[in-house]
């Protein structure tokens, strides 16, 4: 039996909207799938159906060979028996219970001693020690998030479901927690599905990204596949970044980082946190294509490149370049004609250091 989470269902709403989802993910080890798409695209419905909180009219959900939903044979396991951890968007902490009582809520069947040991363990690993007697309204946003995460993980669930885990936090904290969240989740080793509409969050967290729009899955794949090789225009529009490639910071000087990507070295604005591995993100409209290199320019990054492919997109042309890594440029149709670009041509790709967005990857 394959140890996988296999999802294929359709949920219809009375208004006529239909949410259809297909998804596969390893079920026996840590791996993180991000459901990514604009708000209202149905990703939360998918998450709720995985938890058993929504009942799709048609389809199946199996987890490690176990049937959770099968509309044909009328099987629909209750949320209680699926053994999942669910993190709600604004955490849904029990307001009448302390931090410790929230975290220990699902451990009722344990003996008192085991329960308090487990709660202490979780409070420690989520840096909540000393707050056990506080009530949710006495906590900061970050503390609430950690309490909710500790509560969801307390019962050692087989699958963890997170609905916009960072969106209720302010921007600064979100930035800090993004990298830490994946590390924390990996420690627990539970397969995880995360819903987010935040591109940076998706890139920082995901092993696998599932892009959704208007209740449909547009594309599923690795971060690089999705962001650098969107299958169609709709996906490209949603992901909004044309190039996402892994890189390594080899030096930081005066707030600027030298990043090794494929065979090339780029200059970018260094991220706030000290990391080595990053995703290098670059929008197609920020990349300039020229026939020859220019001297005396302020542009930090000038890379010799070979044109691999040209694909028209309305008034624009998507130019796939090879400059030691794959880089996509968006140029206007007249500009493309003026330069007489052909596949195989040698050109120079230019982009400014601030145009590069480095997303830390733990």
């Amino acid at each position: 039996m394959t140890s996988e989470l296999i999802v294929d269902f359709e949920k219809r709403y009375p208004g006529g909207a239909t949410i259809a989802a297909t998804l596969r993910q390893p079920a026996d080890r840590f791996s993180l799938t991000v459901l990514f798409g604009p708000s209202g695209c149905g990703k939360t419905t998918v998450l709720r159906a995985l938890a058993g909180l929504e009942r799709p009219e048609r389809g199946t959900i199996t987890f490690a060979g176990e049937t959770w939903l099968d509309s044909e044979s009328n099987v629909n396991r209750s949320p209680q028996s699926r053994d999942v951890g669910f993190l709600f968007q604004d955490y849904a902490l029990f307001p009448h219970r302390t931090v410790a009582a929230n975290v220990g809520f699902g451990l009722r069947t344990m003996s008192g001693e085991d329960r308090s040991r487990r709660v202490t363990e979780l409070l420690t690993s989520f840096e909540l020690a000393g707050l056990e007697h506080r009530y949710p309204h006495e906590l900061s946003g970050g503390q609430r998030q950690r309490t909710a995460l500790a509560r969801a993980l307390a019962r050692r669930p087989r699958l963890l479901l997170l609905d916009e885990p960072l969106s209720a936090l302010d921007a600064g904290l979100r930035e800090q927690l993004r990298g830490r969240l994946r590390r924390q989740l990996a420690e627990f080793g539970v397969p995880t599905v995360v819903v987010t509409h935040d591109r940076v969050e998706a890139i920082a967290l995901a092993d696998q990204v599932v892009v959704m729009q208007q209740g449909r899955v547009l594309q599923a794949g690795s971060v690089e596949q999705i962001f650098s090789h969107p299958r169609d225009l709709a996906t490209a529009r949603i992901v909004g970044v044309e190039t996402v490639v892994p890189g390594e910071i080899i030096a930081v000087r005066d707030g600027l980082a030298e990043v090794r990507v494929g065979g090339a070295t780029l200059t970018a604005v260094a991220p706030d946190v000290a990391v080595r591995s990053v995703y290098v993100c670059l929008k197609g409209e920020d990349v300039v294509v020229q026939r020859a290199a220019t001297a005396g320019s302020s542009v930090r990054n000038q890379l010799p490149a070979v044109v691999r492919a040209l694909s028209p997109e309305g008034p624009l042309v998507r130019v796939a370049l090879d400059c030691g890594f794959e880089l996509t440029a968006l140029v206007t149709r007249p500009a493309c004609e003026e330069l007489q670009l052909q596949p195989g041509d040698r050109v120079t790709a230019l982009f400014k250091a601030p145009a590069i967005h480095l997303i830390p990857k733990e």
Binding site: P79, Q80, D83, F86, A92, R155
Partner: protein, 220 residues
């Protein structure tokens, strides 16, 4: 002060409140959470005593419980007595008449509660029943207490239904408000005034409690 009437009134109020806690809570929960089609009809029936004259409800109950109705005959064959002009009969009328005073505050409490807290409990392995006792009930406690206090206070002062079903039998069906009516009929104004003062003070205190609970409920 008619101490027998005081005792009887308190008994009736306590019994009514207890029964409505057991009947009203599940009913209110269903009304607040269900999406069933018949819900609005049930809700209207529950609210009916708010607008229905108590004498009308009393009249229907009296005929329904009388010796000529199937219900009345059935009760008589079970217990050997009839419901009208007895304490149990009074209790039936009181429970029905107070239904909205208990169910509506309960419903308001359940309806304003964040549903995701219930779902969070389900995902943590707790059954719907356990979730009700561990999450819903404690969170809705102020609203539920307010409903119980209102029911108790309203039963203390009930007149119309009591008079129609119970009549005026000292120690059996004669409650405080009937006693006031009696005193006035007998031109015993001093006694009526005394009882009225007690009831006024009690009602005011009950409303203060309800308001306090309401503020605390919204504060957390």
């Amino acid at each position: 002060m008619d101490w027998q009437a005081v005792q009887l009134t308190l008994q009736l109020a306590a019994a009514t409140t207890t029964i409505l806690a057991f009947v009203g809570l599940p009913l209110a929960y269903w009304l607040a959470m269900s999406r069933a089609r018949g819900r609005f009809l049930v809700e209207a029936i529950v609210a009916l005593p708010l607008v229905l004259p108590p004498t009308v409800l009393g009249f229907y109950l009296l005929t329904a419980m009388g010796p000529h109705s199937p219900g009345g005959r059935f009760y008589q064959s079970l217990t050997g007595s009839l419901l009208p002009f007895s304490f149990p009969g009074l209790l039936v009328g009181s429970v029905l008449y107070n239904l909205p005073f208990a169910v509506r505050p309960f419903m308001a409490a359940f309806a304003t509660m964040d549903r995701r807290l219930i779902e969070a409990s389900w995902c943590l392995g707790e059954s719907p029943l356990r979730t009700f006792f561990r999450v819903t009930l404690p969170i809705c406690r102020p609203g539920i207490l307010a409903g119980l206090v209102l029911t108790f206070a309203h039963t203390i002062g009930e007149f119309g239904v009591v008079l129609m079903i119970g009549g005026n039998i000292p120690g059996v069906t004669r409650t405080l408000s009937i006693a006031i009516y009696d005193d006035v009929q007998a031109l015993n104004y001093a006694s009526a005034a005394q009882t009225s003062w007690v009831l006024l003070g009690f009602s005011f205190a009950a409303l203060l409690v309800v308001q306090f609970l309401g503020r605390r409920g919204s504060g957390v």
